[in-house]
């Protein structure tokens, strides 16, 4: 039996294979990477009956147009995504997120765009057939590491799918992505470098997400944050969610593909529970920060985890 595969008729803007990311490599300069919105990633795998760490195709804004050239493919799309299926018979089906569909040979899947959000996820039953680097398929384009030789997918690419001998059961989840009013943060290690006035602005005024935002980082525009002490620190490690402020006073939030070492003061760190929602905020969105304590952040993460598990159990 030859395996099922898609042919890429349009690649989309930033379509990469991602899983749960790659551990233990910060010290050689490789970021964690992995799916940006972990909750939507997990749900997409769960819908098609895959293990949690099965790689999916992540897309940003405009997704790919894919044609089934061989076999049957059972898939689900998660996020807030507008897509449709063009059947070989010319019928067009408007797609619903959080629901599985089965494609036949010559059917086309057109992932048109994400709505008022950034990332969406395409999972297929059995998973994509990909090579692993250091135990992960996550793509880090900047270092050329990961599935598809470390590249985004391109027009013409053949995307192979692992065969599974099983009848597909259709599955569904009732879920709507919610927005949050505040991005909650903890104090960064250089919080006291900034003037009192700047801290007040940082915690009370709005920041707009700039277009210079990608998987590496999110640049913000708003009140300039004035540093009273030192605009450069000795280079040190970074993690995702760190908010750095360079000399120009505009904050940058480190996202999943961030450089592993940086030399700008850290004013704050986004809490783990709010990361998925942060990354789904599109350019021009206005956000506000709220400072909380570590204990509260830990509690909020437990709640986030519980909610995610509950959603995974509701898939049926």
């Amino acid at each position: 039996m030859t395996s099922s595969f898609f042919k890429t008729l349009r690649a989309g803007i930033n379509s990469t294979f991602q899983d749960l990311g790659r551990k233990y490599l910060y010290h050689i300069g490789l970021p964690f990477s992995g799916a940006m919105d972990k909750r939507n990633y997990l749900i997409s795998n769960n819908l098609v009956g895959n293990q949690n760490n099965t790689a999916v195709l992540e897309f940003a804004f405009q997704g790919p147009l894919l044609k089934v050239e061989n076999g049957k493919i059972n898939f689900a799309i998660t996020g807030d995504v507008n897509f449709r299926i063009k059947k070989a018979s010319s019928n067009i089906v408007d797609g619903e997120c959080y629901k599985t569909y089965t494609l036949e040979k010559n059917d086309e899947l057109d992932i048109i765009s994400t709505n008022k959000s950034v990332y969406g996820y395409l999972s297929v039953s059995g998973g994509f057939k990909l090579e692993k680097y250091w135990n992960s398929c996550s793509t880090t384009v900047r270092a050329g590491v990961g599935a598809n030789n470390g590249n985004k997918i391109s027009k013409g690419d053949k995307i192979n799918i692992n065969n599974i001998e099983k009848k597909y059961v259709s599955k569904k989840l009732n879920f709507i992505n919610s927005k949050i009013e505040f991005i909650r943060i903890l104090k960064g290690t250089n919080f006291d470098y900034f003037s009192k006035n700047s801290i007040v602005k940082f915690l009370n005024e709005e920041f707009e997400i700039s277009k210079l935002t990608d998987r590496m980082g999110m640049r913000l525009k708003g009140p300039k944050l004035e540093n009273n002490k030192e605009t450069n620190i000795r280079s040190e490690g970074l993690i995702k969610g760190v908010i750095q402020v360079p000399a120009d006073g505009d904050p940058i939030i480190m996202l999943s593909d961030h450089g592993t070492i940086g030399g700008y003061p850290k004013i704050g760190v986004v809490i783990s529970a709010d990361y998925d929602k942060l990354v789904q905020s599109a350019p021009n969105t206005k956000i506000k920060f709220k400072l909380i304590e570590l204990k509260e952040a830990e509690k909020l993460y437990k709640f986030y985890k519980m909610e995610t598990d509950k959603l995974l159990n509701q898939v049926q």
Binding site: Y24, Y26, Y133, I239, V242, K266
Partner: protein, 225 residues
């Protein structure tokens, strides 16, 4: 040896070894780095050493700050890491076309090209950390006579293999990348190789590195050997 431990966000620990940058402090950072790595503590996902800080990131599903802070405070630290320490010799071609900032160095440091190279080559440098871009080593300390700031305007593209210096440090650009270090040559060696799955980086924190000069002809034929 750690002066202060705090949290960096809710999923990382920030170990502060002080503000100075010297090999003694960095050797302590690296001892902790290697000791934590060897102990395989549950939940840790990354350990990132730098000049005088160590960041331990973890999976909040498996552990938390308080637990891990205790473990790190009570960890038995290696007395030395000599057994792990390698000496790596890096060939470098310093011909005009590779030594992009030699003229700037000649002018600002008031040293001839030979003087710059004699002060730089064939000395053992210590690897403080690797990172920024995959596999890039931060090495030091270079001779006091060679210390110069970064370029005022960083290059948009520094060629892969470039060997650069700034302040007390030198480095190797493992990929083509933006950067502002003063470039004095280029190595034909692959310092980061993603296909070497066990050890993709040639140089690791704590290693020693020595640069020696090769001719353009040797450079061009290097990878045919």
């Amino acid at each position: 040896m750690i002066k202060n431990i705090s949290n960096l966000g809710d999923a990382a620990i920030y170990c502060d070894f002080g503000n100075e940058v010297n090999q003694e402090i960095n050797a302590n950072v690296i001892k902790y780095f290697k000791s934590i790595q060897k102990k395989n503590i549950k939940g840790i996902t990354n350990v990132t050493p730098s000049y005088n800080k160590l960041i331990v990131s973890f999976d909040l599903d498996l552990t938390d700050y308080t637990n891990l802070k205790n473990e790190i405070q009570n960890i038995k630290i290696l007395s030395s890491f000599d057994d792990d320490q390698k000496l790596i010799k890096i060939p470098v071609c310093c011909d005009e076309e590779f030594a992009l900032d030699m003229e700037r160095l000649n002018k600002k440091l008031k040293l001839s090209k030979d003087e710059v190279l004699n002060n730089y080559l064939n000395k053992e440098y210590f690897c403080y950390m690797t990172g920024f871009i995959a596999g890039m080593p931060f090495l030091g300390d270079i001779d006091k006579k060679l210390r110069l700031n970064r370029l005022e305007t960083p290059r948009v593209k520094v060629p892969m293999g470039s060997v650069g210096i700034t302040e007390q440090f030198c480095n190797i650009y493992t990929f083509e990348s933006p950067g502002g270090w003063n470039i004095i040559g280029n190595t034909p060696i692959k310092v980061f190789d993603k296909f070497k799955k066990k050890e993709p980086t040639l140089i690791n924190p704590g290693d020693k590195v020595l640069f020696y000069q090769i001719s353009k002809k040797e450079y061009l034929n290097w990878n045919d050997k």
